[in-house]
Structure formats: structure tokens, C-alpha cells
């Protein structure tokens, strides 16, 4: 197994996610799931592993939706996946064909692409497609849709916010109408970010309140260590004690698999496998002008997702927390914030703290105190904001 930062992993190369996947399957017994988590945390890898071995009695259909821009394109994509599945079983999506015949007034022999004339009937077509899929087999259907938030964003840009809202509502309705149907939404952009932007335009529904929210966390230390060992072995790196080195690697990048792959990849190119080199690689990455570990997005995305009144508070809170070695309670943190900026907006600060947790910057310890979710991000933040001293 070779280091593969950012690339596509084989299912057997996805380590340390068995408990999480078991939890997702358990949850899917009851309800649909929004699979969240920080970018590059390994959501897609979790999906790869889920796809490779679904439990008995589950039909799992995966699709990456990010290239789609209209509801009709989306429905067509779902239809083609359905047709592809059914045709392998010598069946076909009769309800959809019937509906198309009705809408077009003519017989449809081979449905390759829905005509634009049926675009406004996308909801009916989606409903018929799911009906055809659900009724033609005995398994529970799980639709695993990667990058759904990106598709919603595209729909919003192409056809307007109202259509994006309708699409979310339609999906919810399908889940309600088909008790055995499950959906898994995931993506590199948080679904909550897209819904928040729709809410700012007047969207009042909560389209995922029937779904379980599960975050993909970093690996636990033992698994991260195991991953590092596998990669060091796979790359044939010989040097310092391999187990100790793996420990250091896992610890230095907070057990995030993406960064573990990166560190080992760098070790390969430098032909070294020693502890000092690991430290050097991580330090260089934190200061890398080319930002090869993509850490800058922790700062850049704030400009996109935080309102102008939220942004200064968010920056102030992170600045305050990155220089304190121990977790801080809310009163402590609030005092630290007030020492660096003028604010009496206690409610606003609490609200921004909530956003920072939801966006995986911060977490709370068992005593409810705030801290950076990842030590690596804390280090990056200190460097980036010039707060090393």
C-alpha cells in the first residue's frame, strides 16, 4: 500500500473506519444519514469502503452529483442508474416510460436523455423513477449521493434558489413516501452551508431533520498508527524504529489520514524514515507558501460562509484560543476576546462559537471548555496569523 494523498483509495486500503461504518449501517436501519466532517477527513474513503461490502439485503446505488446543474439532469442521472440496475435484471422502469409517453404524446423506445420539454415535470419523473426502483426488487434501497451540496449550489446558481429548495423538499418527500428508502448525503461542502444560504433567502423548512447527522472524525490513535505502519511498509521505508516512527507521524498530524499519507509520501521522496524528518515535513507544510496541505482553506472559507458581523468574532475567537495552551471555558474565552476587541455581543459570540464547532474548527472537552479540534490547525492558525510569539 503506497501513500496516496488526495488520490483514490481501494476499499481494503481504508483503515480504521470499521466502527464508524457499522454505526452508519445501524443508523440506516432507522433513517437516512447526512455524512459530514471536515474536508479531507476521509468521507469519500468511508463511502468507498461502504460500497465495497454493503450488508445483505441492501441495494446501494452510488453517484457523484457534482457535475449536475439542473433538477432534470439530476433526475435523468437517477433514472439512468435505475435503468442500469434494472436492465441487468431484465426489468425496466415502466412508470417512467409511461409518464414520458404521456408527457410527450408518443412512444419512447430508448430513453437516453430526457427531452427539455419535460423539464418542468422533474418531480413527477423523480417520483416515478424511485417508484420503479423500489418496487422492482426486495432489497432496501440506499441512494448514496456524494457532492449533493455542490449540486444544490449549482441548481441554485442555474435555476434559482426556489428550485434548489424544491429539490430538497422533493427528496424529503420521497423519504417520507417510501419508508424503506434511505439516502446518504455527503460532500466536500457542508450541506448546512447551502441550507443556511437558502434560509437567508426565505427558506423556512428543515429538509434534513429526518436524517441522522454523522461526522467523520480523525482516526483513533491506534488506527492512525496502523495506517502509518502500513504505508511505511508499503513504501519500503527503512530507518528509525518503524512503530515509533508511525506513532510520531500519527501524533504530529492529529491522526488525520490525509496528512498521514502526505507525510509518508514526503518521506519517500527524501529517502528518509526518521523522526526528525517527520517534524521537518510537518513544520514545512505549515509554512509552505504553496500550501500543499491545503491548510489555507481554514482561513479562506470563513470569508465565504461567515457573515460580515460574524467574521471578526470568529477570527478573534480563533486568535485567542490558538495562543492558550489549555482549553478555555466560555467566560475565559469571552474575556480573552474582549481583551483584543471591543464587543458586548455575548449572544453573537455564543452563536459564532456554535458555527465554529459545526465547521470543525473547535470542539469542547468533557468539561465543556473550548479548544481547537485539531492541534495541527491550531499550529497553522498561529503561524498564519503571526501569533507564534
Amino acid at each position: 500500500m503506497k501513500a496516496n494523498p488526495g488520490g483514490q483509495l481501494a476499499a481494503h486500503e481504508v483503515l480504521g473506519r470499521d466502527d464508524l461504518i457499522a454505526r452508519i449501517w445501524r443508523s440506516l436501519e432507522r433513517q437516512s444519514v447526512v455524512l459530514g466532517g471536515e474536508r479531507r477527513m476521509g468521507k469519500t474513503s468511508v463511502i468507498v469502503k461502504m460500497r465495497s461490502s454493503p450488508p445483505k439485503g441492501k441495494l446501494l446505488l452510488y453517484r457523484d452529483l457534482e457535475g449536475l446543474r439542473t433538477p432534470l439532469e439530476f433526475v435523468q442521472r437517477v433514472f439512468r442508474d435505475t435503468e442500469s440496475y434494472l436492465s441487468a435484471r431484465r426489468k425496466s422502469a415502466e412508470r417512467v416510460r409511461e409518464l414520458l409517453r404521456h408527457l410527450q404524446g408518443a412512444e419512447v423506445a430508448k430513453v437516453f436523455r430526457f427531452p427539455d420539454s419535460v423539464a418542468r415535470h422533474w418531480k413527477a419523473l423523480l417520483s416515478a423513477t424511485i417508484e420503479d426502483l423500489v418496487t422492482h426488487q426486495d432489497n432496501d434501497v440506499i441512494l448514496l449521493w456524494d457532492e449533493l451540496p455542490l449540486m444544490l449550489f449549482n441548481v441554485k446558481e442555474t435555476e434559482g434558489e426556489a428550485t434548489a429548495m424544491e429539490l430538497l423538499d422533493a427528496l424529503r418527500e420521497l423519504r417520507q413516501n417510501h419508508p424503506a428508502l434511505r439516502m446518504v448525503f455527503t460532500g466536500s461542502v457542508g450541506l448546512h452551508n447551502v441550507i443556511a444560504s437558502l434560509k437567508r433567502s426565505g427558506y423556512a423548512n428543515d429538509p434534513t431533520n429526518d436524517m441522522d447527522m454523522i461526522d467523520v472524525p480523525p482516526l483513533d490513535h491506534a488506527e492512525a498508527r496502523k495506517l502509518a505502519i502500513r504505508l511505511l511498509e508499503g513504501e519500503g521505508l527503512v530507518g528509525d524504529d518503524r512503530e515509533e516512527l508511525a506513532d510520531i507521524i500519527a501524533e504530529s498530524v492529529d491522526c488525520v489520514p490525509f496528512f498521514i499519507h502526505h507525510v509518508v509520501d514526503q518521506l519517500v521522496l527524501t529517502h528518509t524514515a526518521d523522526v526528525d524528518q517527520v517534524d521537518q515535513i510537518v513544520s514545512n507544510a505549515l509554512l509552505d507558501a504553496d500550501d500543499r496541505w491545503h491548510l489555507m482553506h481554514y482561513r479562506e472559507r470563513m470569508g465565504t460562509y461567515y457573515e460580515s458581523d460574524e467574521l471578526p468574532l470568529a477570527l478573534g475567537l480563533l486568535d485567542a484560543l490558538c495562543t492558550t495552551d489549555a482549553p478555555s471555558s466560555f467566560p475565559e474565552l469571552y474575556d480573552l476576546l474582549k481583551a483584543q476587541m471591543e464587543t458586548d455581543d455575548r449572544e453573537g459570540v455564543l452563536s459564532v462559537l456554535g458555527l465554529l464547532q459545526r465547521d470543525h474548527y473547535l470542539s469542547r472537552d468533557s468539561a465543556g471548555r473550548f479548544q481547537f479540534s485539531l492541534g495541527l490547525i491550531r499550529r497553522f492558525w498561529r503561524h498564519h496569523r503571526g501569533l507564534e510569539g
Binding site: M1, K2, N4, P5, G6, G7, Q8, L9, A10, A11, H12, E13, R39, R40, T44, Y62, R63, D64, L65, E66, G67, L68, R69, R80, F112, R113, D146, E147, L150, N154, S188, V189, F258, D265, V268, L269, H271, A289, D290, D291, R292, H294, M296, H297, E300, R301, T304
Partner: protein
């Protein structure tokens, strides 16, 4: 294409053998890329790499080499299909376009008639239908095989496809996991570095480094070998050959392509053999640099043009002023230009100075100048290629014939008068100092010899002598010091160096003579004073030696160099008188105390400490008996109470003595690592000498 054909601009036309023969610097990376392709064909994992570097840095060479290694591997090639999109894949404006280019590349590579027919049929469909069908067609064609997509200028392709095309591509890769991509780009671009981009964090990004001087030498040597030009290979190893490589290095700024083009000039000595091909080469390179200019924004071009016109590096505020932009705008543009390999910056204090990374970039400006005026670049080139003396000689010869040569030679000689700075000399001097500092004396010798080849000043011979002396090549060092004096009889450093060599030869009479000669020219020259003191001591006795040493200590400042020199003197002093003491020798103790007092009064305890420390290490030498080593240790131990700074050298002396007595290496562990190193090195040298026949 076969044999050793070298394409300057299209390495993809070269044979696998030719590519391998001149491949340097990136063997690890190339091996790694092949490994990753292999892993992408044997399992479900897919690796995607992006190689970043400016034009001419060798991206196409690396991609071409990867292609040949992959298709040449029977086992590997059966498991994949390679689609190699060349540099000129303009006009990819959608995901569909990309799929069509891939289909065409596969057809060209494998000649599959069915694929060609299916591709042709796509043009009957609407674009959305064609895209779906093309994607399915390719996946069906691949079956269980992996598609290795080799593509250049990924930034152009992504820009053409837009976010929509990129998203569709990304979705396709996620859905199918059958592709492995190795791509190149001149610079990082939004499509992979912006958080919102579909391919953010997707590629393993590798920045290609420019060639170092040593790698450039290897490249040129390989090019010569590959062309069967053994004379050139030998020439590249000579000081003049190395000097010329350094000249190219200055002009090329580490750019592979320019070295390849320049390789044909390296042995040309006669100017008439050089003028025409060089001007032809400039013609050949001009469109390349003009194209590089087109690649940047108008504002950036303005900055590059300014830097083309101003030879020394200039600060940001000057650039901002001359381009009529704010400091902030200039900084932003310069950063981008630096990232793209157009300029380099040097920080002096708080100010950043910028200059062209490749002086050849001046071609873009020179070609627009008055055609009758000499091309400045060629003038620069002549200055770099020939020594001042050669240039003047050639000009005198050419004046009789007239013509283009006179024009260039006159400009070069005039330029030489105006500017005292030769970038090759600066680089050689820097290399020499660095190598001496890091004790890489062989490389320091090379740098000194290059300096001699470039300009041959007396100081350069002194440098050569210093490097040779450090390598214990005393005879050669002596010759170099004498050469320095032959060239400049009044060079203090020449006489000082000569005296140092004589000291090493233990020819104290000659050392005294040379150091006195140096002191006649510069009466307060510290190092010479110390050498004279040592020599006086050994030739004329203790009293005169002490007087001379006292004067040296009074006159010299306490700089590091002087401290080392005084340490040498003190070492010599004790070597002469105290290495054979007896513990009862009252005279020895008296002298010891005189020296200690002298050191204290002149605040040279540190120098004395170094000297005694060095000499203590010498106790391990077979020339020193166990008894002498013991006596030496006792001598200084007695004095340590009054002179606490002696503690460290006593430690060294004690350990050296016990090692000598017991021959147990574990004894050395009593010393801290940095002190142990000195002793270990001395022991190793002694053992080495003993084992040498």
C-alpha cells in the same frame, strides 16, 4: 524516432534511449511516478500527480520518459491504456472535448478501429448526449484496464473546461475510479488550489526544481556522452569547461532547455565559430521567450521588461515607481512572477530586490531594439565566455578585419570597463567560501581553479593554495602560492600563504622569510605576525619568539581569524618547547606561566585554550610517548586552579593520555560529543596514515 536526436523544444519526439541518456536530477521522482502508475493498475487505488514548473524546466522530458518506461514495461502496459495529450491540446472547452481528445489519443496509440468509429458517431449526437455516450464508450473500451492520462498544461485544460467541465470530470473519476492522471502545469492554478475547486487537494503536487550547477554539469556531460563527444566530456571536467558551464548557468538560471541549447557552444573558442551559431540560437530562442511574455498579464510584462532593461537587481519601490503602480500592486505581481519562475528575489535588510531569473529573458527586449545596435545579450555572453585579456586580444586582432565581430568585441570590452562585476566570479567566490567553510576542500579547489580560468588573478592562486593546503597537498599548494607571488609580488596574502605552506612543511627558516616579506608590505598583518612569531621561536629561540608573539598579540584585534592564527602560534610554541617536558622541569613551568600571563594580559585566553586543546588532541600521535602525554597533562592540570579556562583542554589532554595508555575506545566517551569528535578525527587520521602503505 531513435538514436541520440535532441529536440530542444519537443522532448516528446525523442527516443526512450535518448531521454534516459540525458536524464538528470529526477531519478527518484521518475521511479516514484512509475511505481504509482503500477499501483494504479494492480488494485483499486488510483494515484493522480501534478508536476509544477516553469517552461523549459523539463516537464515534457519527465512525462515522455514516464510514457516510455510505462509502455516499455510489458506487464504494466497490458493492464492499462495510455492517452498522452501533447502540449498543443488547445481548444478543450468542455468535459466532452477532453473525452474526445482522450479517444483520439487512444486511437493514435493503439489504432483501435472500433473506437475510432464510435468516436465518429458521437458527432451525430447533441453535446449532452455525446458527453454521456463518450464517457460510457471510454469506460467500455477500458474494461478492467486503467486509463493513464498524461497531459501537459492542465491549467489550460481546466481553464477551458470551466467549473462545469471540471465538476463533470471529477464526478466521472469518482463514479468510475478507472483513471490515473499525471499532469503538468507551469504554475499552481485555481483549479487545484482554491478550496471551492472540484480538484482541490486531489492531486499529489510536485514542484520541479531548477538545476543546480552540479546537476547542470551532469546534464551537459550526459548530452556530450550521448552524442559520443568524448572530447567535450573531458573538456567539461577542466576548469575552463566548468567556468563555461557556470556562464551558461548564469544566463539560463537553472532552465534545462537552455543548457541543452547551449551545449553545442561549449568547446567553441574562436569567435568566428561562435558569432553566427550564437545569433542563430538567439533567433531560435526568441519566439520561446516571446511566448513566455505572452503567458503573463500586461502589468507583469511591464515589470519583466523593466527588469530586462535594468541589469542589477532593483527594489520593489523602484519597480513600483517605474511602472506607475502602488507598492502593494508591484509586490503582488512580483510574487506571481516569482512563483512562475520569471524573477528571483534577494532580501537585503528589510528590502526585497528583484532580478530576472533567466537573463536570457532579455531577448524579448533586445529583439525590439535598434537592429543596428549590438544585441546586449551577446555582449553579456562574450563577457562571460572570455577573459578580459582574451577579449582585448581578440579586439586588437579583429580591428584589422572589421565587421560584426568588432562591433561586439568593442561593446564587450567597453562593458568590461564599466562594470567590475562578473556574475561567474561572484558565484565562484561564494562557492569557494562555502566549500571552505563546510570543509569540502576538493570542491573549493575546483572553484579556485575556475576563478583562475575565468580571470587568473593572483588572489585566485592564493585561494587555490589555501584549498590545496587544507587537502594536505602541500607540493601543489606551494606551487599555487608561488604562482600568486609571480603574478603579484606585492600581494601580502601571497606571501602569507607561502609562509603558511612552509610552516606546514616545517621549513621554519623559509616560513620566517616569507612572513617577514609579508610584514615588510604590511607591518601589522596579524596572521603574518603570528607566523613570524612561531617561526622566530623555532629558528631564533624562546626569547625572540616571545617578543614576536607579544607584538603579534598586542597588534592584532581579537577577531576569529586572529584568534585562530594566535592559536596556531601558541600551538607551535608549545610544540617546540613543551611537548617534551618533564614534570620536574622548572624551566618548562616558568615558560608555561609566562605564556599564560601573556594570554591573560592580552585577553587571549580563548586563543590559548584552542591552541592547547588542539595540541592535546595531538597527544594520541605515536610521535608522542605515553610519558610525555602524562607529563603534558600534569603540566596543565597544575595550572588549572589559577587559570580556570584551562578546564576543557585538560579534559581533552587527560582523555588523550588515557586512550594512549590503555588503547580503549570507551575512554573517549568521557568527553562531550563535540570535543570527542576532534579526538576521534585525529585518531582516525593517525590510523589511516598507519594503514596506508
Amino acid at each position: 524516432m531513435s538514436g541520440s536526436f535532441h529536440s530542444h523544444f519537443t522532448p516528446s519526439l525523442m527516443s526512450a534511449e535518448a531521454l534516459e541518456a540525458v536524464f538528470v536530477q529526477r531519478h527518484t521522482l521518475a521511479g516514484r511516478l512509475v511505481d504509482l502508475v503500477r499501483e494504479s493498475t494492480t488494485g483499486k487505488a488510483r494515484h493522480h500527480s501534478l508536476l509544477i514548473g516553469p517552461r523549459g524546466i523539463g516537464k515534457t522530458h519527465l512525462i515522455s520518459l514516464l510514457y516510455h518506461r510505462v509502455v516499455g514495461d510489458q506487464d504494466l502496459s497490458s493492464k492499462l491504456r495510455v492517452a498522452w495529450l501533447r502540449e498543443e491540446e488547445w481548444g478543450v472547452s468542455s468535459f466532452l472535448d477532453l473525452l474526445l481528445r482522450i479517444a483520439r489519443a487512444l486511437d493514435a496509440e493503439y489504432g483501435d478501429a472500433s473506437l475510432a468509429a464510435q468516436t465518429e458517431a458521437l458527432f451525430e449526437l447533441s453535446p449532452p448526449e455525446a458527453q454521456e455516450a463518450a464517457a460510457e464508450m471510454l469506460e467500455a473500451y477500458l474494461g478492467d484496464r486503467t486509463l493513464l492520462l498524461l497531459t501537459e498544461n492542465l491549467d489550460d485544460i481546466f481553464r477551458g473546461m470551466g467549473t462545469d467541465g471540471q465538476q463533470r470530470l471529477r464526478a466521472h473519476l469518482q463514479d468510475n475510479a478507472t483513471w490515473s492522471i499525471v499532469a503538468t502545469s507551469q504554475t499552481l492554478f485555481g483549479g487545484v488550489s482554491l478550496r471551492k475547486s472540484p480538484f482541490y487537494g486531489f492531486f499529489r503536487i510536485q514542484h520541479l526544481q531548477e538545476l543546480s550547477l552540479e546537476e547542470a554539469r551532469e546534464l551537459l556531460s550526459r548530452i556530450a556522452s550521448s552524442a559520443g563527444d568524448e572530447d567535450l566530456v573531458a573538456y567539461l571536467g577542466t576548469p575552463m569547461g566548468r567556468a563555461r558551464i557556470r556562464a551558461v548557468h548564469h544566463l539560463a538560471g537553472g532552465n534545462h532547455r537552455v543548457y541543452v541549447i547551449f551545449s553545442r557552444f561549449l568547446t567553441r573558442d574562436a569567435l568566428d565559430q561562435l558569432v553566427e551559431p550564437f545569433l542563430c540560437m538567439l533567433d531560435e530562442l526568441t519566439p520561446y521567450y516571446q511566448e513566455r511574455m505572452k503567458f503573463i498579464s500586461v502589468q507583469q510584462r511591464k515589470i519583466v521588461e523593466l527588469l530586462c532593461n535594468t541589469r542589477p537587481a532593483i527594489p520593489v519601490k523602484e519597480i513600483a515607481k517605474r511602472c506607475f503602480v502602488t507598492h502593494q500592486v508591484a509586490s503582488g505581481q512580483l510574487k506571481q512572477l516569482r512563483d512562475r519562475g520569471y524573477v528571483r528575489s534577494v532580501k537585503v535588510g528589510r528590502e526585497s530586490y528583484y532580478e530576472l531569473r533567466e537573463p536570457l529573458m532579455r531577448l524579448c527586449v533586445d529583439v525590439k531594439r535598434d537592429r543596428a545596435a549590438p544585441i546586449r545579450l551577446f555582449v553579456d555572453f562574450l563577457r562571460l565566455w572570455y577573459t578580459r585579456v582574451e577579449l582585448k586580444g581578440m579586439l586588437e586582432g579583429a580591428l584589422n578585419h572589421g565587421g560584426l565581430e568588432v562591433l561586439y568585441l568593442t561593446a564587450a570590452v567597453e562593458d568590461e570597463g564599466e562594470s567590475s562585476s562578473d556574475p561567474r566570479v561572484d558565484a565562484c567566490l561564494e562557492d569557494f567560501d562555502n566549500h571552505m567553510r563546510t570543509a569540502e576542500f576538493e570542491l573549493a579547489t575546483d572553484a579556485a581553479e575556475e576563478l583562475i580560468a575565468i580571470r587568473g588573478e593572483a588572489q585566485d592562486f592564493v585561494r587555490q593554495s589555501r584549498a590545496l593546503l587544507a587537502r594536505d597537498d602541500i607540493e601543489s599548494s606551494l606551487r599555487a602560492a608561488e604562482d600568486a607571488i609571480d603574478r603579484e609580488a606585492t600581494l601580502v596574502e601571497g606571501w602569507t600563504q607561502l609562509s603558511l605552506v612552509r610552516t606546514k612543511q616545517q621549513d621554519w627558516q623559509a616560513a620566517l622569510k616569507s612572513s617577514q616579506k609579508a610584514l615588510e608590505l604590511a607591518p601589522d598583518h596579524s596572521v603574518s605576525l603570528f607566523i613570524a612569531a612561531s617561526a622566530n621561536l623555532l629558528v631564533r629561540g624562546w626569547e625572540e619568539g616571545c617578543v614576536a608573539l607579544n607584538r603579534a598579540l598586542q597588534v592584532s584585534d581579537s577577531t576569529q581569524a586572529n584568534d585562530m592564527a594566535s592559536a596556531v602560534a601558541v600551538t607551535a610554541l608549545f610544540a617546540s618547547r613543551l611537548l617534551t617536558p618533564t614534570t620536574n622541569d622548572a624551566e618548562t613551568r616558568k615558560r608555561r606561566d609566562e605564556i599564560l600571563e601573556l594570554a591573560r594580559n592580552t585577553k587571549r585566553e580563548a586563543a590559548l585554550e584552542i591552541g592547547i586543546g588542539l595540541l592535546s588532541a595531538v597527544l594520541v600521535s605515536p610521535a608522542v610517548s605515553v610519558e610525555t602525554a602524562k607529563a603534558w597533562t600534569l603540566l596543565w592540570t597544575e595550572a588549572a586552579e589559577a587559570y580556570p579556562f584551562l578546564a576543557r583542554c585538560i579534559r581533552t589532554a587527560g582523555v588523550a593520555y588515557r586512550w594512549k595508555r590503555d588503547q580503549e575506545r570507551s575512554v573517549l566517551l568521557e568527553l562531550p560529543a563535540e570535543e570527542r569528535l576532534l579526538l576521534e578525527r585525529t585518531i582516525e587520521q593517525i590510523q589511516q596514515r598507519e594503514s596506508d602503505p
